[in-house]
């Protein structure tokens, strides 16, 4: 049953060195605040799972938290490269990064299998690509009725699933809306779950594409307003597009990256302090 705790407590309780950790949120509701807290707590040897390891995983990789990355698209959406990810893969900086690479459809099928308690997922996928030559977790399966061969991928069952949502209610039920990606699946597939919400409300109101997770499948809830920044929470905050655009400048050079991370993440005690440290630059695109 969901307990409401600080984000510091949620992360220290749920995320341990060596864990398989999935921070999900498909371009919307990305749990940046949780990633920053993992960095502050100096977790190491994590296997990071995420369909779109954008800036949040660039930061975790650059700060040396990751041993392995399981993913399907690693870029700064609409803005460019992830230089810390590239530095790890191209130059083993700060150390070697093992990668396990899929397509979006494959990752979605893997989460779905994990949430369903199945050992594998089936899709019409990976045909004619070199991915199956470099990724051992892509296999084949034959339909027992038609004889057709399809792709099979193993279930993802992370140790920890971390998401942002807009609201929790007093009983600990969680509600999110707008683009909800694989957030439901990652919570259901994971052994432990950490949910960040914008606020706690007395009662949910109906929303287009409203997705509710009952309290008894959620382990901890932390109230972290603007927790997705520079991503956004629909009806609560706007995407900080200028921050995404500025990431190339911040991250291209490792020293500049480390200075930025020290100032805005390591030297800030929590997410409010992180947001305050950005004042003057934040939300320029909100107007």
């Amino acid at each position: 049953m969901a307990r409401v705790v600080s984000l510091n407590e949620a992360i220290s309780g749920a995320v341990h060195d060596g864990d398989v950790v999935a921070l999900e949120g498909f371009t919307h509701l990305i749990p940046f605040a949780a990633g920053h807290e993992i960095i502050r707590q100096e977790r190491r040897d994590l296997t990071l799972v995420r369909m779109t390891p954008d800036i949040i995983y660039d930061q975790l990789i650059g700060m040396g938290c990751a041993k392995k990355l399981i993913f399907s698209w690693a870029g700064n959406p609409g803005a460019g490269s992830l230089y810390r990810f590239r530095d790890a893969v191209e130059n083993a900086i700060p150390h070697e990064l093992e990668i396990e690479e899929h397509s979006h459809a494959g990752m979605a099928a893997r989460y779905q299998a994990g949430a369903s308690g199945l050992p594998f997922g089936v899709l019409r996928g990976y045909r004619g690509t070199d991915l199956s030559k470099v990724t051992t977790s892509i296999s084949e399966i034959t339909c027992p009725f038609t004889g057709e061969t399809l792709a099979a991928v193993p279930a993802l069952t992370p140790d920890v699933g971390v998401i942002c949502a807009q609201q929790a209610d007093r009983k600990g039920n969680v509600m999110m809306w707008g683009i909800t990606g694989v957030q439901k699946e990652v919570v259901l597939a994971a052994r432990r779950s950490v949910v960040l919400v914008e606020e706690i409300v007395d009662q949910f109101s109906p929303k287009t594409n409203g997705v509710v997770l009952p309290a008894w499948v959620v382990d901890t809830i932390s109230v972290v307003p603007s927790g997705p920044h520079p991503s956004y929470a629909q009806d609560y905050s706007h995407r900080d597009n200028s921050f995404y655009a500025s990431w190339e400048r911040i991250s291209r050079d490792r020293e500049a990256f480390l200075a930025w991370m020290t100032e805005h993440v390591l030297n800030t005690g929590d997410h409010d302090a992180y947001l305050a440290s950005l004042d003057g630059t934040r939300h320029r695109s909100d107007s």
Partner: protein
Amino acid sequence: MTSHQPNTEWTSDEMMTVAAARELTNGAICFVGIGLPSTAANLARAIHAPDVVLIYESGCIGAKPDRIPPSIGDGILSETADAVISIPEIFSYWLQAGRIDVGFLGAAQVDRWGNINTTVIGDYGHPKVRLPGAGGAPEIATSCKSVIITLRHGPRALVEKLDFVTSMGHGNGPDARQRWGLPGAGPQVIFTDLGVLRPDEESGEFSLVGVHPGVDAGDVVRATGWALKVSPSLVETPAPTERELAALRKFVSHDQ
């Protein structure tokens, strides 16, 4: 830019976007990614294809943004969509099930058969440049009824041999998709900033069928990494109209 004196100049990227937009027929169900595909599809919707259906892999079906979203997760997509669904559902019930008419794909490298690399330049294990990877592309390439590829022309972009096959076009020749049992027809056209390539009727190789205004076909051949065949019926792409440019720039200016 002053409104009483229309700007008749345009960039080669604008020409590429306009050419891609014109390819979309009204009512087509399009699976679009961010960047040029999203811009081209919305331009088509504004100009000649008001009923084109835009599907973003973030789960937004029938999105109708009035500005170009900088991210496929932009709030304007879910707010204007007919339906918003989960990621597993968009890939299983919608893309995989073969409901999409047209998929747009970008590429770091493409070969004469329309196979695409968005994974690495160099060796996979020790890449010279690590690119973002597959995303939705492998299944967009195989499941959509047809595929439009867009990329900037250059000998390191249109190559003799891909460093890595991320998404299958026509494999090693025109009958490869049939042998693989792929449902869709695969890439039907490549729009670059220089011209337009379509499969040659005989060989199936992507060949130059159009050049954008002011572009020399010989320059396009020299900017291509394989021995590009030039169609005998080569045409010049009609220049962007004022209306197209105005709509395009209105979208893009909203994005600043």
